[in-house]
Symmetry: C2
Subunit: 319 residues, 2 copies
């Protein structure tokens, strides 16, 4: 992996990035992943500016490895959050959920490496035009907010790979070394892993949510609320209420009212598994242990190697 562009760009050992998820990606998780040789990312989407500053300082106190911050551009307090990033000299910023033209030059002029998360080729091209250093292409199976095109990782990755030459990170459905190798086959140079790290000891989300994740199975999630911002959720009472609203033909305003404020915090951070919003990827069905983040990194990298060896063993096809 010595020539891996993502490793070089970020100054990390392994092309494995921990997603900056709301209510799960605090300093403990990011520090553990960065210390393990990947890239740890703080999820600023669920942090006020002072909270973010606090997490960055705690993170810096325990590791001098590179780390990043994820910034969903549509969230409030953006200017204050950006101030924190600049003041704390955050080396790497992953922007998402918004227009990459808004802040890319500003951040790059101040020394940040900027990556934008996209769900389609057209957004990937816009991000490149805005001057980002690379993109994360995130498929339909991913947890949390997602694109309207519903393009899956299997289809999205080669489409984006064909369209841009910049460094490409795969996301959506990747919780194992097998999937990491699959993403590399499809043209990715690194993977961003979310759901798997929710079920880590260091994730800052509620214990009850972690347990719900490892207990979930096939068909436990759905991409819904497409009229607002599409989001993949674990099915629970809140989800059933959403379904009932749909069955009754509820307009977007009514859905927004049902969603209200603080549902995600209530579910993922406070552990209200019934009334809260529980964001997770389809791949939760494959996850059944809560282990240290460093063990997740090790397991994935080691399975990547085992899978590569297995494919080498099968060998090329005699033509």
């Amino acid at each position: 992996m010595r020539n891996n562009r993502i490793c070089q760009l970020f100054g990390i050992q392994y092309p494995l990035i921990q997603a900056g998820m709301v209510w799960a990606s605090g300093w403990r998780l990011a520090a553990a992943v960065s210390e393990a040789g990947g890239l740890g990312i703080l999820g600023a989407g669920s942090m006020h500016p002072e909270t973010l500053e606090n997490h960055i300082q705690k993170l810096k106190a325990v590791t001098n490895k590179p780390f990043g911050v994820n910034l969903p551009l549509l969230y409030p307090e953006m200017e204050l959050l950006i101030d924190v990033l600049i003041r704390e000299q955050v080396p790497i910023v992953f922007t998402s959920a918004g227009n990459p033209r808004l802040w890319t030059s500003f951040l790059k002029d101040r020394g940040c490496t900027v990556i934008h998360v996209v769900s389609s080729v057209s957004f990937a091209l816009k991000a490149i035009e805005a001057g980002v250093d690379g993109v994360v292409a995130e498929g339909f199976e991913a947890g949390g907010h997602n694109g309207r095109e519903e393009t899956t990782t299997m289809t999205l990755l080669p489409l984006v790979r064909k369209s841009i030459s910049a460094p490409l990170i795969a996301a959506g459905g990747i919780a194992t070394g097998e999937a990491m190798l699959a993403a590399f086959a499809l043209g990715a140079e690194a993977v961003q892993v979310g759901s798997r790290f929710v079920a880590s000891l260091e994730a800052s989300c509620h214990e009850a949510f972690k347990k719900k994740v490892i207990d979930s199975g096939e068909g436990s999630t759905e991409l819904t609320l497409k009229e607002l911002t599409p989001v993949r959720l674990l099915k629970n009472s809140f989800y059933e209420q959403v379904k009932r609203h749909y069955a009754e033909g509820a307009k977007p305003e009514i859905l927004a009212q049902l969603l209200g404020k603080g549902r995600a915090k209530k579910g993922m951070f406070e552990g209200d598994l019934e009334e809260g919003e529980l964001e997770i990827g389809q791949v939760a069905a494959l996850i059944d242990t809560i282990i240290p983040a460093s063990a997740i990194v090790e397991e994935m990298l080691s399975a990547y190697n085992t899978t590569l060896a297995r494919l080498q063993q099968i060998g090329p096809i005699d033509l």
Copy 2:
């Protein structure tokens, strides 16, 4: 690939199967793929018994390689179609869209190898229980009829691989050698390729439909009509009518009435791109040539090898 279980099971050279698609998979396409060393499959879902018999006989007249027939179990005239399969000693039957317990023993007792197409682990387990020789696990991105769980190929394959030890064929989003290798990384032993073969010279669908497929891009398809049988369609006037019906809160009966009979034939076989139903996978966005089926097989296998070589070149991760 000498020890590949799918190659051994079917007696074919390459673990590449052409999907038995309605209105596209006639004897010319199946013969071309079987002659090229893959497995060609007739799509009985759009054939009356006498048409199927005719296609089987024409196919046998031009190749003595193994071939298969796809049988959507919910279609009418099933007993007559089965009679044809037995009379013509069809060696391999892929069943789909129905209960695998219905015909698996019957077919196996008469010497057929039986594979069932599934969209979930629970259906995979039912198929194994019914005695099938292997399963096709088909992800959400696939064209045509699909499961309700919306599980993508990236997530579905490892879930099914973990649950069954029988031979596993991947489908959904696979039109290239890169995706074929990705599927192998995720645990598949062969791939079933649909959309790519729609855009082949030999496919029996209408020329206008083939052109529409290669002209389509990202976001051109959607999985819809979930209240009837979920189906992935190219967006056209008919699709817009479906959307309008949904916006008006139409009940399933009204949707069924809109769909009516013969929409798929009208679109894919007769080339009515506006009023017809056009079934294709998300991966259509990646396809931009109409070429001979043998060239598709060659391109895919050769890209599989190139991609394997690229991953070997990158090498394992130093742990």
